[in-house]
Each structure stands twice: as C-alpha cells, then as structure tokens.
Chain length 338, copies 2
Amino acid sequence: MTSMRRIVLASRPEAEPGPENFRLEEAPLPEPAEGEALVRVRWLSLDPYMRGRMSAGPSYAAPVGIGETMTGQGVGEVIASRAEGLAAGDTVLGSFGWADHGCAPARELRKLDARLPPATALGVLGMPGFTGWVGLTEHGRPQPGETLVVAAATGPVGSMVGQLAKALGLRAVGIAGGEEKCRLATETFGFDACLDHRAHAEARSLRRALAEAAPDGIDIYFENVGGKVLEAVIPLMNDFGRIPLCGTIAWYSGDEGGPDRLPTLWRSVLVKRLSVRGFIVTDHWDRIGDFLAEVAPKVASGEIRYLEDVTEGLENAPDAFLKMLGGGNTGKTLVKLP
Amino acid sequence: MTSMRRIVLASRPEAEPGPENFRLEEAPLPEPAEGEALVRVRWLSLDPYMRGRMSAGPSYAAPVGIGETMTGQGVGEVIASRAEGLAAGDTVLGSFGWADHGCAPARELRKLDARLPPATALGVLGMPGFTGWVGLTEHGRPQPGETLVVAAATGPVGSMVGQLAKALGLRAVGIAGGEEKCRLATETFGFDACLDHRAHAEARSLRRALAEAAPDGIDIYFENVGGKVLEAVIPLMNDFGRIPLCGTIAWYSGDEGGPDRLPTLWRSVLVKRLSVRGFIVTDHWDRIGDFLAEVAPKVASGEIRYLEDVTEGLENAPDAFLKMLGGGNTGKTLVKLP
C-alpha cells in the first residue's frame, strides 16, 4: 500500500455547512522521519469545535486552509516506527486529521492503556470528558446541594459533567434534543431531570420548564451551546452563580432565536454577581494526569458511563459530522475505519 | 428645631431621570430611640448606583418607594445620642438618605478618624474607593507589566483603580468625557494615557484610539460603564484577560449605541478565555479594614490623590445628581449641607 485517503476542506461554508464543503482525496502514504511513527487510524473523533475551524473568523486556533486535511484526533496502530519507545502494533492517540493514516513525532503521540477500549481516549477519557471535568472542577466550584444545568446532556461533555455533579451531591438538570435523549440522560447518566429543547420553540417556554426542574435556581450553568438555552438560563441563575463557558454551538447552527440582549445579560452578571469563565481544554493539559487518575478507574468499573455514536468508513465522516451538528447523534461521535 | 428636610422620589423616570422625579419635603425631626443617635448631616454622597434604585426593575437591592427618601450615605455630627460609645460632636458615617438629619442605631454608624477630612469617608476612602480596590485586587488579579483600562477615570472608582494599577507596575489607560478630564487623569492621577470618549461617536473609532494607547492589548478591563466602551474594548482584550464588572451606567443613560451583539461577546469570552466577574462592594465589607489599613495612610501622605465635586445645599442634590449621570461632574460628587 503506497497511498492513503483523507478528507479535505473543499470550501468554507457560507452559513450552514454541507457535504459540498468536503472532498475525499487520495494522497501518497507518508514515510516517518527520524523520531516519527506512521499510524494506521482505526477511530476518528468528530467534535463540534471542528465547525469553528472551517471558518476564517478569529478563533483560538487557525482555521483549516482550503484544500487542507480537516483537523482531528484519532486512535490507531503504529505500523512503522523510527521513534524510540514506539513499536509496530502499539495503540496510540494522536492528531492525524480526517485521514486513514498519519505520521507524527513520538512526543505528539500517547500510548494507550490496553485495559480500556481504545476509542474511550477520544470521548469519555479524551478531550470531551476532560473538558467536562476541568470546566466543572476548576471553574464551576461545585458544592453539594447546588443545582447544575448542562445542555447536550447525552454528549460526551454533558454526560461527564452531569455524572460528576451527581457524584458530588448536586442536583443535575440536563437539556437535550428529543425525548429519547432525555430518557437516556436520566436513566443512563442519572440526571435528576432532562428537558427536551425541541419541545420549546421559545426561550420563555424553556425557562418555565427549567424553573420547575430547578426549583432552587441554578448555581452552575455549564455553557456549551449558547442561544436559546443561555437565554432561558440567565434569569434563573442564583446569586454568585458560575458559568464555565467552553462552547457556543447553537450560534454556529444559526440559532439566533432571540438571544438575550447584551445589556440585559451584562447587567445580570453584575446584579447576580456571576462568574463567567471562558476556557479551552488545551490550556489545561497539565491536569490530564489528574483527570485520568481520577476518572479512568471509574470508567473501567462502570461508575461513569458513556455512549458512542459510531459511523463506519472515512468517506462517511462528513455526513456523520453534519448529523452531529444538527443534533442527530447520540453520545460521542466516532468514525470507525477498517 | 423640630423639623428636617429630605428629598423623596416623586415618580419613577420613564427614560432619562429629570428634576420632576424628585421632591423636597419637610418632615418632623426624628427622636433617637434607645441605642440610636441623631445625626446632623454635613456631607451627602451622590453615586451612580442610585440611578438603579429609582427604577422598579430587578436589581440587587429593592428600589426606593415612591414618596420615600432617596437612599444614600452621608457624614455628619452626632447631635443627640442614646447609644453607648457615641456622644454629641462625634463625626460619623451612616446611611441617612438625601436628608439633612437622620437617626440610626450605633451599629450602623462608623466613627471617623479625625486625621482625615470627613468627606473622604464617602469617596476615596469610602464605597467608591473600596469598590476600585476590591474589584482590582480580588477579581482583576493585576500583574506588573500588564495593561488596564478603566472608564470614568477621574471619578472616585476609576481614579482609585488607575492609581493602584500604576503603583503595581501596570500600564493604566483611562477613558473620560472631555479633554479637561483626560488632562486630570494623566496629570493628577498618573494614567499613562486617557481617551476622550466624546471625541469618538462610534465604538470603532474609540477602539482604534485604544489600540494605540494599549499597544500590548488589554489584560484587565475594569468595567463600570458598559455601552460603547465595552464594545471598543472586547476585541482588544488579551487571552486570559479579566473583567471585574461593577457598573453599566452607560446603559442607564440610554447609550445603546451599537453594543456588541451578544453572540459576539459570548464567543470572545470563550475564544480569549476571559474571566468576567460581577461584584457588588457590599458583599465585601469583611475586607474594609484591609482596605483602610492599606489605603488611608497613602491618602494622608498624598500618594493617592482624589478630586471632589461639591454642590452646596440639599435642595440642589437632584441637579447635582442629574449632572453626574450626564458626566458633568469631575471627581467624587458630594453635597455640602450647612
């Protein structure tokens, strides 16, 4: 085999991204340089942040260039190594992009613990799970008896946040799209309640339902969506509430549906003495060891659960990604490669 | 003398408050109950937060009722005391409202240090100065070499923030209304630069001037105004910037002038990993002793300077207040009573 397959950004989306923004290409199989390993990718992770990389606007990372491979993390097996400490057959985590093979220097690869399914390194024990853990523990400052709200409650971030909050003695209220996800949130992940945002066209209606589900108000709003949910939540925040903010995916997806006016929000932050903290998980890699030490045993024991939404074949990655942006996935979105 | 004078809220403002919202009244002079002192007020403090108390909307404090005395702090002399530890002639700080006399229990009065002018207890060493100190030190987390921006730079909050920031080795950029205030900001208070917001009708223009005055970006935006200044500042914030938020007076004054869209702001908080913290000085009274211990000697020595804008006569308090809301004051707004 001398070639590989990859998916490149064909064009930038004008509004909603579509299949036309992606292109499947063949490319020569790279050869590992000294210190590098060549990896055959078995699992590709699809994550909401990739939507941001498709656009050229200012962000915390440079956008993907037109004609460049879409960025992303994957798990695979080393098939050739010129790196000390890595041998053919090792299972590693790395940033190979949307591709079936990739080369990387050894320092950018992490050998995986063989006792857990390798794809967990992309979800519950990967960037999304770590995002939930670090945002809740470092910025959320959870206290027993408090109430937490998180959207995308069955996703890999929201389900981690909800399970950690429950274990810490908080009331956890999820928001998810559809009755089936709401059922999973309460039955699989132990949320005290979960609201279907699709049943509430307007923030006002969602707010009324939230007020019932969170009768003592909201102390922590783990913000990963923005839009209608943010608008519904703000008036219910308790004094001295915390808002760890790691995503605004609703605003990518065109949900401009009456977001609260800026003066109203700003004044609420003052009047309620809220603490809003933007964070990006990559700033916190120094804590990944603490996260894995605490959470990996709980995943192994089943105390912390997770759901995966698996699509087969690299060529189907764009469709799986678009489905995820529309909320059509359930759990961590993965592409399985042969 | 058996009567006193006070100013009551005659009606709630529809938009901009005006003189018609206030009424001067005579009232019987109160008699101190057991444990109380009767105080003849010599100095009344006028502060932007009082604008919020005139409206019935949700806030951190109940609004003033129609026909009730406008709330406010004052400094005066005890003229009759039934409280242990307080004697006629003592100079005290208390909440007497917009009135020339007031009764209060001893625990709500603070005897003032006779070595400093008594009106400093309402400004540089009072609530405004303490607001600047607590917001900067607790929420701003200033580091030498960083850049700070604060509006109302010659006011009692902004001038405290700027002087503290300079003493801590930061670059301090002020914003004020008019060339004269900008000159005072740099010459009297030591700001490195001060921009006249009246010279910039649009946030975009103010932003360009700020970018020149803060060539390394902004690490701390001490937020006391909102509006156009907020819009100008946000794109210039550095990663991991801090925004202590204690006021939004621009939005009281009808400056809706193109505030940034909420999704843009929220996404900036994420992308730049900003920390926004609403705070109200009354939550921090436990630190007033630390503040006075640190700052009172510096005021006495002249190391920390202050400006006062004094109006004579209780009957002129409404005009002085309205002038302050329009930015027509320079320094701490006080009313001197005979």
